[in-house]
């Protein structure tokens, strides 16, 4: 009987020691989160840069489990991927895929798994519906207004260069971010779309047309427009556009992946909204890329901080209890020197959102205002 009593005491003591060892840090538990990332693009330069940062920097620095999906093609794929992550005990989802974000959020809530947006922004209505939900942790990335402004700045840059005739690539319109960027480019060039020159009116028409109709682009600068990607026809179209004597080629995404060789060979100055990757550095130093608005890979870091805080039982919320919605801007390089200076801040273990910066954003003492300030602080 005495032996049994001693054994019980020993077990109790061990149990207490185990529980005590689980605590620690400022916010109690410090267990690293398990995160599933939904992606539609697995191959693009920008997507690769984000992935490298998350899997080779954040995951290693924090011991987090970060798993990417294969390329998700539709809403059903997204739902299935979330259910798979939830079933395997993952803590959170970062959405970089936007086939149906409302359905993604609903699936996460249903499966009691945290949800964050790491690229693009939710539709206003969806955000309003879910902003107070405990499983929605927030969205950090360029807002649609920022996307529009990125396109606008690129259009204005080439307009100031005195272009009369340009090629324009609309990438994967009606993808919202491409729609807003394209609207910005048109306005930046000083042109109109369907006689409209205001963001909302142009965007509305592009959605209604389910794409851009070249005939509706009017103004002093002639635009030869193309969109989508099909290896059997796209390059012939590009050849025709290059052959028509354009002064520049403006793309709202992916041109540096698909067309840089053709544009470099033809010595056509071109601009793109993409990422600060090594091949874009080469395109800028020895090719004809002369305008790049890019996200930097570690801009995804704050989303990790949101998840880590929630995992530690301290979700970042504003005074009304709403999840944060924070817009990030693009960095722009118009010369090889500018590109090199920007890229130097984001290579290997040197990161704009480094562990040191992220550590200051994770913990029980981090307030909503401090978090927003840390995200929006000028770092480039």
């Amino acid at each position: 009987m005495k032996k049994l009593k001693n054994a019980t005491l020993l077990l109790s003591a061990l149990g207490c020691m185990t529980l005590a060892s689980c605590g620690g840090g400022k916010g109690g538990t410090t267990a690293a989160p398990k995160i599933g990332v939904l992606v539609a693009d697995v191959s693009g330069e920008e997507a690769q840069a984000f992935r490298t940062y998350m899997t080779e920097y954040v995951a290693k620095q924090y011991g987090a489990t970060i798993e990417y999906t294969t390329a998700l093609e539709n809403a059903a794929d997204e739902k299935s991927a979330i259910e798979d992550f939830a079933g395997r005990g993952f803590d959170a989802i970062i959405s970089m895929s936007s086939s149906d974000r409302a359905a993604q959020l609903a699936t996460c809530v249903q499966n009691k798994i945290y949800y964050t947006v790491g690229s693009g922004m939710l539709d206003d209505k969806v955000y309003e519906t879910y902003k107070g939900n405990e499983y929605f942790l927030g969205q950090i990335g360029p807002s649609m207004q920022t996307e529009y402004e990125a396109g606008l700045a690129m259009g204005q840059y080439y307009k100031a260069k005195g272009v009369d005739h340009v090629g324009m690539y609309g990438a994967f319109i009606p993808n919202p971010m491409h729609v807003f960027r394209a609207a910005g480019v048109i306005v930046g060039l000083g042109d109109t779309y369907g006689e409209a020159s205001e963001m909302g009116a142009i965007v509305g028409q592009i959605y209604a047309d389910n794409g851009i109709q070249q005939a509706k682009i009017g103004g002093d600068v002639t635009v030869d427009y193309m969109a989508g990607f099909d290896p059997t026809t796209t390059y012939s179209t590009l050849g025709s556009i290059i052959g028509s004597g354009i002064d520049a080629f403006l793309s709202v995404g992916m041109a540096t992946t698909f067309f840089s060789q053709n544009l470099n060979d033809a010595k056509i100055p071109y601009g793109d909204i993409d990422a600060f990757t090594s091949s874009n550095g080469t395109n800028m130093s020895s090719g004809s890329l002369n305008y790049l608005a890019g996200k930097y890979a570690s801009s995804l870091g704050p989303v990790y901080a949101l998840i880590a805080n929630a995992k530690n039982g301290h979700s970042i919320r504003d005074a009304q209890g709403n999840a944060p919605s924070i817009s990030q801007s693009y960095a722009v390089a118009t010369s090889s020197e500018e590109f090199t200076a920007l890229a130097a801040k984001e290579s290997g273990d040197t990161r704009i959102f480094s562990k040191e910066v992220l550590d200051s954003m994770i913990g029980d003492s981090v307030t909503y205002d401090a978090f927003v300030e840390a995200v929006q602080k000028e770092r480039i």
């Binding site: 693009g44 690769q48 294969t70 989508g228 990607f229 099909d230 012939s236 060789q261």
Partner: protein, 348 residues
């Protein structure tokens, strides 16, 4: 003897008409629409190169697909073979030549060799497992796609397939035509003028009888897979050259799309082959599809990529409907024309 040498003009006319009817129809319809809208089917040198690459890619893919399909072996792995062959080829050649002089030709050569090896692996697995090729080829597709993804980390292979040598090669229309001519000559020679080809035809038309006569089907099937792989190596090279990249992120059967581009031309080519030679038929079908792609490119602002897919699918269905009801349709036309011819006589 003289009677044997006498040309049957009626038969020749019928055969010629049957051979050129479809490409001629494509040309007349598409060219007329372009002309009516004040546009050209091909309006730049880049457009011409793109057209030639399109014709060559479709023709070679169609030949590769038909080799096994005509023998009842459905091979889904063709697309994954072309992608993996080109990825491996570029990874071997780029460190050697850095994209400089000679790298395009060397990449083509390696792509063909690696494609052949991949084809043999695919065929070997089919022969070894002896389960329906439609199943083994699906598994092989996933394996090849997975290897491509692992080798590239899912990213586009870009630097390796760019450079002065590739730019030069894909700037020469004659180089692409020469490649097409060599590929066609090789396939025609192998399948129409060698004992391997005779055995292939024999197995294709009556497998049991051919096997009973002592023709070994396994070596023949393996050789077919090897040739298909080699041809798909050329396709991989052409795709990489025109798109200046190879997508290493194709997973979950995404590479099958490459094979599906050959379905309509295969049926059209088979139909044309009835009047002449099936390989010539595949080329003329490839030419027709190339014209259609050039047309899509000309009207890219009016016909987007999704509508193009629908048009391709509708054409395939219409052509299959025609093939399935050919005699009935010809009968209707005959009736219609004979009625029209008789009508004035009755009035008189």
């Amino acid at each position: 003897m003289e009677q044997n040498r006498k040309i049957n003009w009626k038969d020749l006319g019928k055969r010629t008409a049957g051979t050129i009817a479809i490409p001629l129809l494509f040309f007349v319809v598409l060219f007329s629409i372009c002309l009516g809208n004040g546009r050209m089917l091909i309006s730049s040198s880049a457009g011409l190169i793109s057209f030639l690459v399109s014709v060559t890619t479709i023709t070679i893919t169609t030949m590769a697909l038909s080799i096994n399909l005509n023998s009842g072996r459905f091979d889904f792995s063709l697309g994954s073979m072309s992608v993996l062959a080109m990825i491996l080829s570029s990874k071997i050649v780029y460190p050697l030549l850095g994209g400089g002089a000679g790298s395009a030709i060397l990449m083509l050569l390696f792509s063909v060799i690696i494609g052949t090896v991949l084809g043999l692996i695919s065929g070997g697995i089919y022969c070894l497992l002896r389960i329906p090729p439609i199943i083994t080829s699906l598994a092989i597709t996933l394996i090849f796609e997975g290897i491509s993804f692992t080798l590239t980390g899912g990213s586009y292979v870009m630097d390796e397939v760019r450079g002065s040598s590739m730019s030069f090669f894909f700037g020469q229309w004659w180089a692409i035509l020469l490649l097409l001519a060599i590929a066609m000559a090789f396939v025609i020679f192998m399948f129409d003028h060698t004992s391997f080809g005779y055995r292939y035809q024999s197995l294709r038309t009556g497998q049991k009888l051919a096997v009973n006569q002592g023709i070994k089907e396994i070596p023949n099937a393996l050789a077919c897979y090897g040739i298909c792989g080699g041809l798909m190596g050329i396709v991989g090279f052409l795709q990489a050259g025109i798109t200046t990249s190879v997508n290493g992120g194709s997973l979950n059967f995404a590479s099958i799309a490459i094979m599906f581009t050959a379905f309509l031309p295969m049926f059209i080519g088979g139909y044309i082959g009835r009047f002449s030679n099936d390989k010539l038929g595949y080329f003329l079908a490839g030419l027709s599809m190339g014209m259609l792609n050039a047309f899509f490119s000309t009207f890219h602002n009016e016909i987007d990529v999704s509508v193009q897919s629908i048009i391709n699918a509708v054409l395939l269905v219409l052509f299959l409907i025609y093939l399935a009801n050919e005699q009935k349709i010809i009968g209707w036309f005959k009736k219609l024309f004979s009625k029209k011819n008789h009508a004035p006589a009755e009035q008189n």
